[in-house]
């Protein structure tokens, strides 16, 4: 048993370039409208207007959207923000349809130790009411963001290490089933989280609340225009529907240009497709 597990574990770690999860001929009953989490049936529209309880879900969902926006703009391999607390929230209906939330909240940088200093932010989040889904619009102000440049050195070192032509990082399941992320993979996890934020932001509505559950795989592609090129497969978790939604994406990063997401592709995730054990 032990030998088998050891051999198997080594084999699973020593993979060249992970294939995206196989989904050949998904059974007809495979779930998930492309790009959107299936909703629990007609959840009553509990969203209210006026002052909102900051710890309850309407405010929290809007704050999560603002958080994704923050990460798309300021995230890096050495900086990714998490929501710490919502202090105040209110919502109002908007003339053109839709609802606008005003939020006062704090975030922390997950990259700075166990609990870094909290950053205070305020945001307006507008969920438009349109026939086809269109992403929320966010205006965001956070204090002292510009002053955080302590990561410049780490970013530079990371960039130098992996920009070389023969670098070909590849890994699966970050974290693994037990929550482990190796030291080397931490920046890649953060990059995935930042890149995933583009998708999570775009896909958000008042009925969703996204987190990144796991990085299923990362595969470095050949660098292009001096950008690190990474292909990620990420698993997103939508809280209200409890669905796990899988996206493949191609992202670029450099210290100068930051994170850009070049391609995204929703991948059907059929629960009965066989998958290697973790």
């Amino acid at each position: 048993m032990k030998t088998f597990c050891s051999v198997w574990l080594l084999l699973s770690l020593v993979e060249l370039s992970p294939a995206p999860p196989v989904s050949q001929e998904p059974p007809l009953a495979c779930t998930g409208a492309p790009g959107h989490a299936p909703q629990s049936e007609t959840a009553e529209d509990m969203a209210s207007t006026g002052d909102l309880e900051p710890t309850h879900y309407p405010a929290r969902r809007a704050a999560t959207v603002a958080l994704h926006y923050l990460n798309t703009h300021h995230g890096s391999p050495f900086r990714v923000f998490g929501l710490q607390q919502v202090h105040k929230a209110s919502a109002e209906d908007v003339a053109a349809g839709g609802r606008k939330y005003k939020l006062d909240f704090s975030v922390t940088d997950w990259a700075s130790g166990s609990e870094g200093p909290a950053l205070r932010c305020s945001a307006d989040v507008l969920f438009p009411q349109t026939e086809r889904h269109s992403g929320p619009e966010v205006q965001l102000r956070c204090e002292a963001l510009q002053q955080i440049n302590r990561t410049a050195q780490e970013e530079h070192a990371f960039y130098q290490r992996y920009i070389s032509p023969d670098s070909a990082v590849s890994a699966r399941d970050i974290p693994d089933s037990y929550g482990n992320v190796s030291e080397e993979m931490q920046p890649f996890w953060r990059l995935a989280r930042v890149a995933a934020s583009f998708i999570m932001l775009r896909e958000s509505s008042e009925r969703t609340e996204f987190n990144m559950a796991q990085v299923a795989s990362v595969a470095q592609q050949g660098s292009s225009e001096e950008q690190l090129m990474l292909e990620f497969v990420v698993l997103l978790h939508d809280f209200p529907s409890q669905e796990i939604i899988q996206w493949k994406l191609l992202a670029s990063w450099s210290p100068d240009r930051g994170v850009r997401v070049l391609q995204t592709e929703w991948q059907p995730r059929c629960p009965h497709a066989t998958k290697p054990p973790n």
Partner: protein
């Protein structure tokens, strides 16, 4: 085959006590005979200390070579100069070995007592069931195991009963009803050890147990749990097939007869919140329903989930406030104040429907409607950073702080009999 070679290297490493820090394994793809000759020449350079896992044989067959750190620059320069294509297959051999060592240690330890058991890691179903038997054997005057039913795949549904006398009212705690929420089963294990440790030592718990029985179902969804180990770490539901669909499983927290079928659950078997064909259709749920009804004197019921850091009370299926809302709200506040006192972990609290989302057919809505006033659901750590895959080093801190909240609820239950 490659696996065996790697394994051999591993054993050599372990017994030879060499270090492989900074070493890499390169996968080289020679494209013609000339490149193969070059590689053969390279392999003859003894001072480089190269270890070919796969020899240069034929063009376009990959050549795997373990390159010691001191030779890396030279080898890569050689390959670059001759335009020989290669990939870095293993970035750092020592890292790999260290990981593997850790894995092996995990598998090596078969605890012989609950004092030996590793609470700071996640375990599989067999280990947890063995743990339960050990706990009972070591504390047979206090703990017994009841089998309240069978899962769909015929696994026993085991409940630990902590009791110091007959005919007592009871307090119920369950963990792992959603199988991917691993920190909950792990916490359940810790709670059970905590109870036997503290009985006779902690006056509050001792007093509780001298008046109430505690029932603890650690793996409430064993089929799902086995599946998270073998196939899909993100599996939530039961594993019962659904007729007319190729999708498997029912959400056991939408399957209870409380607002069953209403908004806040799904009618599609392929969704995570599928309510099932009828209320209590899942044997895992029915077993608890039958147990609670036949017991007749359960006075507090706590169902534990992750993640979100919340303590919730009924209702989930309706916005009509529970009759005892004020008391439940105040008790929740006290409980999470206790919880927070340990590691400053912030929890939110409130009714399910207002705090988290509308959910119909939920466990504690049913138990509350059965007359079990102190019905609560926990959502443990964290708030989304790791989510379901909470690092194992957070198991014990999570269990410790949650225990303080549970004690607050149990103590209040004991002090307010009804």
């Amino acid at each position: 085959m490659k696996g065996l070679l790697v394994l051999t290297a591993l054993f050599v490493a372990v017994f030879g006590k060499k270090t492989f820090e900074g070493d890499q394994v390169l996968r080289i793809t020679p494209k013609d005979e000339a490149q193969i000759s070059l590689l053969r020449e390279l392999s003859e350079q003894e001072h480089l200390g190269l270890d070919f896992w796969r020899e240069p044989v034929h063009e376009s067959l990959p050549v795997d070579v373990h390159v010691p750190f001191h030779s890396l620059q030279g080898v890569r320069a050689f390959l670059g100069y001759h335009q020989i294509q290669y990939n870095v297959m293993i970035m750092d051999v020592q890292d790999l070995l260290d990981d593997e060592e850790r894995e092996m240690v995990k598998y090596r330890s078969f605890p012989r007592s609950t004092d030996d058991f590793v609470y700071t890691n996640y375990h599989d179903l067999n280990s947890i069931y063995s743990f339960m038997d050990m706990l009972v054997a070591e504390n047979s005057n206090l703990v017994s195991k009841i089998v309240i039913g069978q899962s769909y795949e015929n696994r026993p549904l085991n409940v630990l009963k902590f009791s110091t006398g007959a005919n007592r009212p009871g307090i119920w705690i369950d963990t792992g009803i959603h199988s991917r929420e691993w920190v909950t089963q792990a916490s359940g294990i810790w709670f059970s050890k905590k109870i036997v440790t503290d009985y006779g030592r902690d006056p509050v718990l001792t007093d509780i147990l001298n008046n109430y029985d505690i029932f603890l179902e650690i793996v409430t969804n064993p089929d799902g749990f086995a599946y998270t180990h073998s196939r899909d770490r993100m599996w939530r539901k039961t594993r019962k097939p659904n007729s007319g669909s190729s999708c498997v499983g029912v959400d056991p927290n939408r399957n209870w007869d409380a607002g069953f079928g209403g908004a806040g659950s799904s009618s599609s078997p392929c969704t995570e919140t599928y309510r099932g064909p009828s209320a209590h259709s899942e044997p895992e749920v029915k077993a608890i329903v039958d147990f609670v009804k036949s017991h007749g004197k359960i006075k507090a019921f706590v169902s534990i989930h992750s993640y979100s850091q919340m303590l919730l009370y009924p209702y989930g299926y309706t916005s009509t406030p529970a009759k005892d809302q004020a008391e439940l709200h105040e008790l929740a506040r006290k409980a999470i104040t206790s919880l927070q006192s340990l590691y400053n972990t912030r929890y939110t609290y409130g009714s399910i429907i207002s705090t988290i989302y509308q959910a119909s057919g939920g466990t504690i809505d049913w138990t509350y409607n059965q007359g079990i006033k102190y019905s609560y659901t926990f959502e443990l750590r964290d708030t989304g950073r790791y989510g379901f895959i909470l690092p194992a080093n957070q198991i014990v801190p999570t269990a410790e702080e949650t225990w303080l909240a549970l004690m607050a609820i149990m103590e209040h239950t004991k002090n307010n009999p009804y």
